[in-house]
């Protein structure tokens, strides 16, 4: 998993431009000559290790995290692991509404604890005073020792912190909520709106939301009949795609505007949710002079807060952001290729079509490792290989493990010289071979054939021959002659100007692009339209081809 050991990345075809541009058929010779350059900036976005890739069975193609469409299956709080129904998500937002909070100073988890009155520590444990458990509660951070008493917030009950917190300001004074304002308005209809500096972000938002809802219901806008005023119109992904279809021009052109084009009134005062900024900051400056650097909140702390604040005593506990379990769909055929179970605590998948069970696993290791194997008591240690010396041939063993239940025939193609400024010479000693099916071990033992097991190492790597073979895997040898990294010794390539800029980062890593093509015969999964006829049981030849990159190691700079 780390970059120092030899790695293999596989390219997803979603970034292949020939597929995207429909109607631009490239002539065949041009397509064949286009090799994959792993050092190009664009290829960075299409290379993934094998565990990231998924496979769509209908399209018979690899899918990567960038091209799949994701849909949420469940939402849950990462702290209490409680599932949040999606209806709650729309109304209460995407944070946990139980008692899960993060410390604003160190982002560690907060614990609810009772603020106990001090006891005499010299008493023996059996005689300590019992503390009243109904004492006031506060939030405590176990890592940085921050407590909510530092901002003056205490609670009466240990549960339902969310509700209690929404009613208290820092410093202990109660917050002005929309309900309070409405009650006041009821008692005293002539009262002027709340002054600007008493309106905080929550109250402003509540006012603004109410204002827009009333405006929208008045002007009667709706999109395709779905009313917007209750906020439901924007939530589900299906509704969003419908709305987006207005902008992309598809759909009914003539029905964009229904009814008279109404002009909505803007918000005018704090009643409508407009809060005028207070440009006089002399109070803050005085506080800064008194408190100094330590009294301010750092940039990271401010980023996590929901409201813009400046000082440490304005920090509030941060509710945990909800996490989701997502199912992934193939973008072309819309089939689901990965679907986890809805239960939060279960780690199983209802549908899992991972690339690991469809394409061979490729691993690479040096034939003659320079690093000594780690002693048993220090396992596992990642041994760093010595960097490769230029102009010396190195051999690497590439192993292909076949996950399918059929034999596959693998064809490899690799450009003679790696692309880039310093091109190393690469030779695949055995470009075509067959890997046996992934049968059970017991079937193999019962078969009784004498399979050709490992060859002895005294026979050197030969061209055209497999290095080693096993039940469902095959190893072949790759020969690499690294190029020299000296800038002045670059060979002249025709009329091109030699690039004499210093070595860029990553240019000394030897990466080999390789085109892998596998062919196999599979039983066709015929749709059972009518009675199964004998023709449909024929075996179908299937093939799959993709580029992959073998990261071999670093070239030493001598």
């Amino acid at each position: 998993m780390s970059l120092s050991t030899p790695y293999t990345y596989i390219q997803c075809p979603c970034s292949d431009q020939t597929v995207l541009s429909s109607g631009n058929a490239l002539s065949d010779p041009e397509e064949d000559e286009r090799t994959f350059d792993p050092k190009a900036p664009r290829s960075n976005y299409s290379l993934y290790p094998l565990e990231y890739l998924l496979y769509c069975e209908d399209c018979q193609q690899i899918r990567c995290p960038r091209c799949v469409t994701e849909e949420s299956v469940t939402y849950y709080c990462p702290n209490c692991l409680f599932e949040v129904p999606s209806s709650n998500l729309r109304s209460e937002g995407n944070r946990c509404t139980r008692s899960c909070y993060q410390c604003p100073v160190c982002i560690g988890p907060l614990q609810v604890g009772a603020i106990q009155p001090t006891t005499d520590a010299n008493l023996l444990p059996t005689q300590y005073q019992t503390n009243p458990t109904g004492g006031p509660y506060a939030l405590f951070c176990q890592y940085c020792n921050w407590t909510s008493t530092e901002i003056g917030i205490e609670f009466d009950r240990p549960s339902g912190i969310y509700n209690q917190l929404s009613k208290i300001n820092n410093g202990g004074k109660p917050k002005l909520t929309l309900r309070d304002v409405k009650d006041r308005r009821k008692d005293n209809p002539d009262e002027p709106p709340v002054p600007d500096d008493q309106v905080d972000a929550d109250l402003q938002f509540a006012h603004l939301k109410a204002f827009y809802q009333s405006r929208l219901s008045e002007t009667n806008t709706s999109i395709r009949g779905l009313p917007l005023h209750d906020g439901l119109g924007f939530s589900s992904p299906a509704a969003l795609t419908r709305i987006m279809s207005l902008y992309t021009g598809r759909g009914h052109q003539g029905r964009l505007q229904q009814g008279p084009a109404d002009i909505m009134r803007e918000a005018l005062g704090t009643n409508d949710g407009l809060k005028i900024a207070n440009l006089d900051e002399s109070k803050e400056i005085k506080k800064l002079i008194n408190g100094g650097w330590d009294a301010t909140a750092s940039l990271e702390q401010r980023k996590e807060q929901t409201e813009p604040i400046r000082f440490e005593d304005q920090l509030r506990p941060i509710a945990y952001l909800l996490r989701s379990k997502r199912s992934k769909r193939c973008p072309a055929c819309r089939h689901i290729i990965s679907k986890p179970e809805a239960k939060v605590t279960s780690t199983r998948f209802k549908i899992r079509l991972f690339a690991k069970s469809y394409i061979p696993t490729i691993t690479i290791r040096p034939l003659n490792p320079t690093a000594t194997p780690a002693p048993v008591t220090y396992r596992p240690m990642v041994q760093e290989e010595a960097p490769l010396k230029p102009h010396q041939p190195y051999h690497f063993v590439v192993t292909f493990k076949n996950p399918l239940f059929d034999n596959i025939k693998v064809t490899l193609a690799s450009p003679n010289a790696t692309p880039g400024r310093f091109s190393s010479r690469v030779t695949v000693l055995c470009p075509q071979f067959e890997v046996d099916a992934n049968t059970d071990m017991w079937d193999d033992a019962l078969k009784d054939d004498e399979k050709d097991r490992s060859r002895k190492a005294d026979e050197g790597p030969e061209v055209g021959k497999i290095w080693e073979k096993g039940r469902n895997w095959v190893s072949i040898v790759l020969e690499v002659i690294p190029a020299s990294l000296r800038i002045d010794q670059q060979p002249k390539k025709g009329n091109e100007k030699i690039d004499t800029s210093p070595l860029k980062s990553g240019e000394d890593i030897l990466e080999i692009p390789m085109f892998v093509r596998m062919e196999w015969e599979a039983d066709t999964q015929a749709d059972m339209d009518g009675p199964a006829s004998k023709d449909k049981e024929a075996r179908e030849k299937r093939e799959l081809a993709y580029w992959c990159v073998l990261g071999v190691g670093r070239i030493s700079q001598e």
Partner: protein
Amino acid sequence: MSSKRHSVLPAVDRSGPKPPVNFSTSLTISDNAVLQGTHSITMQAETVVHPRSRIESSVGSVLVGRRCIIQERVHLGAPSDNQDKGTGGVSLGDYVLIEAGSIIEAGGTEIGEGSIIQVGSKIGSGAKIGKNCTVSHLSVIANGDVLPDNTVVYSNGTRRTDKRGTPELRKLSIVKQIAMLRKMIPSNPDKFR
């Protein structure tokens, strides 16, 4: 499914001079603890020393206050190989909790009353830690550093002042811990006298 009992634990390295000790009668010290060095080691009332902890007085004397807890793999009085090391030994106040794997270097190091040194920390030689401090896990306090009272050192060396104002709570929790540990750890102070 249970593991079979091992008949003998691997031997503890007891090489080195046996230091003169000055133990209180209510001390709980496991017989797997290691005391080495030439200067004296003093441990006051009700302190608990876990097995496999190492107290070394080769550089200077070690003084451990009342009701302290020294967990396993702690190395008190480690010699410092740095240039700016101080002279003297290690001195711990009362109610100090030193968690597993910490290294407290010798050389005039002082740890004030009620402080907690959490797992894996390293206190450099000559550092002076105030009262009721918290040095969180894997922190490194440089040689000669001074921490004022009620400081919390966390994350990558960030410091902040602890405004909880509840040192009594911490002392109470240490007292309760000691009460439980005295039953659990078989004490053998005579082995070191």
